[in-house]
Amino acid sequence: MADVQKRITDIGPPHYSKFLPPVIKENYGKWAYHEILKPGVMVHVSETGDKIFTVRAASPRLLAVESIRAFCDLADKYCDGHLRFTTRNNVEFLLTDESKIDALVKDVTAAGYPVGGIGNCISNVVHTQGWVHCHSSATDASGVVKAVMDELTDQFTEMKLPGKLRIALACCLNMCGAVHTSDIAILGVHTVLPKIFHEEIDKICEIPNLISSCPTAAIRPAEVDGYKSVEVNGDVCMFCANCYTVCPAMPLNNPDHDGISIWVGGKISNARCAPKFSKLAIPFLPNNPPRWPEVVEAVTNIVETWADNARPYERMGEWIERIGWPQFFELCGLEFTKYHIDDFRYAGLSFARTSHLRPISFADAAGDYEDDDADAGEEAEEAAAVTVSVEDVADFMYKMVKDAMGVKKFKSGDLTKAALSHFAEQNCDKKTAKAAVNALIESKRCVYTYFGGSFVEIPHEEGAAK
């Protein structure tokens, strides 16, 4: 065993001080201020007067070692071999010699990595793995990002925006990279029920574990074709793929029904207002590789609308809060649907619980309402004539109440429903049923009682319930 080297473990990462440029070592903790000199270039000035210049460029995140070596060559040529990466997958070259900046910028740009991402602009896109590496993806990651940023590269290399704009993409609800607090979040979504491989599921997965993985308790044990398996209640499944995470035999991926949703107005920084989650702008766009035109159009539209309307320093979410969501949907030309209204736990917290509304919310809404009413009127005219009398319906109801006395109590809604179905052929409508209930009460054949709920009953002695 002499040639077996002793295994080294738990040494942790190298200490960062091995990699710091001398000017940083000397001025650690002494930086006084910084200035953005031009797009992608900034200087930090120390209390000692020393300066460090930074040139920031976009990487595609997925990098070949060949490209990393090219970065290293540039760092050797201009920066005594010093470089770093940012939290958003940008590469940064660190110089002390101001005169070398322009040549460096030229070389980096020529190598295909745009310089920018500092100040009021779009920085690099934080994103996940997608079809390049992950099993869970509802869409690709790198391809969508590439398509979107090809359209928005100018917003990275220039500083023309009102504030910072952060875009992030996650290819499924696991959201590696936590995209849920971005100005614009692009999120892959599944929209159909998990497929269940009944023959294998009991062999591959622990069924009790699987059942408890579902946040909405949609999964129940079931025997299917003689196999011990599960079934999913489609009414409460929200396509979160928790089940798939714990059990490979329940994939949700579906080429025809997977797609992309767009969320806006999230924010991480605590500057000005508290951090915010991104909110739903577009529930579903199709997966359309290789260029995802629908997604590109949606994102650029939102970016441009914000850029045209926001005040200086206003992030997407701050702008939307100032102008209100109705105006945001209007300005961006986006449709508001039932999917935009939260229906998970504590959904009410996101409802508008105030009368604060802007004039934009008044005119149209009233117009729509009248239109709906008119439609309803027309439908009513077409409805067939009622061929049963109020008295007959009332008699039917009275009999129902009387027969059930002491056994079951009915609410007026129960009586109405029963009447509608009993007299369906006579086209009994709600109006007639309602009139029948009124007739019963007004003739004193029945009374309303109130004990653990309101009911229609035969009058009995006044006093406490027996």
Partner: protein, 397 residues
């Protein structure tokens, strides 16, 4: 070495055009030397045609003794694309602040090229250097070479995930504590917890030097450290006047954006009501030459951020309003220990600390870890009257 097949990839080729750097170009660069990358291109093209991924659900692979740091990945088209039948990811713990020398990076590139596809992410979203694509056989050799050269694996699974920080005092004048040193110290202290999963679920530490939170700690770390200061903001009034002379509309762009409206400005003097400044950084961001955080730096610790899975997303909330993480390091570790002890004993499988606290409730959590409830922890006191009074508590009074 690269006698890999080549495939027609018209859909992917479309993505080599345009001004933004292309991941397809990167994969093609690596495919010159790696047959695995050629097959990856073939498989990816098929995904683009069919609009579906072709990777199988995880796999249990790793290096001896560690329970994390490797994500197993297998192709479901292994017969068609045998070279990428295995395509495992290795997470390498990055140096704090993501600084490198070209020599160190070349060393990593050489190791990775010898033993894997040559594709990387610089960096994964938690912070690790990600090596994408290798086979099970190569794992031990890579690990041996990495550790020889002083590198180690990062976390994955139900363990401490690789801690990550902003570059802090190394280059940023806003940093209120030494984020890189604290990140490194904690990474070293918890090597065992990082490499050997022993928790109900993942645990992330992240460190930002100020409220700008450049590592997004408040959105995704179980314990988030955000720099702040105790004493007064440093104001250089002459420099404020220079910004104004330079055209800055100080009323619209600074005063009206201050969340607590705690700045007074009479056209000549910029005055901060420090007792009401919430250290949000906005005015300092706008005028970095004129304004600086105070000198008594430290951080606020927040707990419980997470992405939606399982019960819903959470932004972290205040646990400790101010701590000097250097002077009070031991207290900090005691709090972390207490939290882990409680969570490990009572947490359910796949329950992040944020969801755990929601389940057992914050009051119970604080009692169990020995922290006092304080108003800093809430946006406002409860407005729902369903209070779970405990008989014992009432007897005390």
């Amino acid at each position: 070495m690269a006698d890999g097949k080549t495939y027609e990839t018209p859909l992917l080729d479309e993505l080599t055009h345009g001004p933004w750097p292309s991941f397809v170009t990167e994969i093609k660069k690596s495919a010159k030397k790696s047959a695995m990358c050629s097959d990856l291109l073939g498989q990816l093209e098929q995904s683009y045609e069919e609009k579906i991924g072709h990777w199988k659900h995880g796999g249990i692979v790793g290096v001896l003794g560690y329970g994390g740091g490797v994500i197993g990945r297998y192709s479901d088209l292994a017969e068609k694309f045998p070279e990428c039948a295995h395509f495992h990811t290795i997470r390498v713990n990055q140096p704090a602040g993501f600084y490198y020398t070209s020599d160190a990076l070349r060393e990593l590139c050489d190791i990775w090229e010898r033993h894997g596809s040559g594709l990387t992410n610089m960096h994964g979203s938690t912070g690790d250097i990600v090596f994408l694509g290798t086979t099970t056989d190569e794992l031990e050799p890579i690990f041996a070479e990495l550790t020889q050269k002083g590198w180690d694996l990062g976390g994955s699974g139900s363990n401490v995930r690789t801690p990550s920080c902003c570059l802090g005092q190394s280059r940023c004048e806003f940093a209120n504590y030494d984020t890189m040193e604290l990140c490194h110290k904690i990474t070293m202290q918890f090597q065992d917890e990082l490499h050997r999963p022993q928790f109900p679920y993942k645990w992330k530490f992240q460190f930002s030097g100020c409220a700008n939170d450049c590592v997004a700690s408040i959105a995704r770390s179980d314990l988030s450290f955000i720099g702040t200061w105790k004493d007064d903001m440093r104001v250089d009034n002459d420099k404020v006047l220079e910004y104004v002379d330079g055209g800055l509309n100080i009323v619209n762009n600074v005063l009206l954006n201050c969340p607590t409206k705690c700045i007074r400005w009479d056209g000549k003097t910029f005055e901060v009501d420090n007792a009401n400044c919430v250290r949000c950084m906005h005015c300092i961001n706008v005028m970095p030459k004129a304004l600086r955080p105070g000198k008594e730096g430290g951080c606020t610790i927040l707990i419980g951020a997470k992405a939606p899975i399982i019960q819903g997303a959470q932004i972290a909330s205040v646990l400790i309003p101010f701590i000097d993480p250097v002077a009070d390091y031991d207290d900090l570790m005691e709090i972390v220990d207490n939290i882990w002890e409680l969570w490990c004993e009572h947490g359910k499988n796949r329950e992040r600390i944020g969801e755990f606290i929601q389940r057992i409730n914050m009051g119970t959590f604080l009692e169990a870890v020995g922290l006092e409830p304080i108003p800093e922890m809430v946006a406002h006191p409860r407005d729902n009257p369903y209070i779970f009074f405990k008989e014992d508590d009432e007897d005390d009074e």
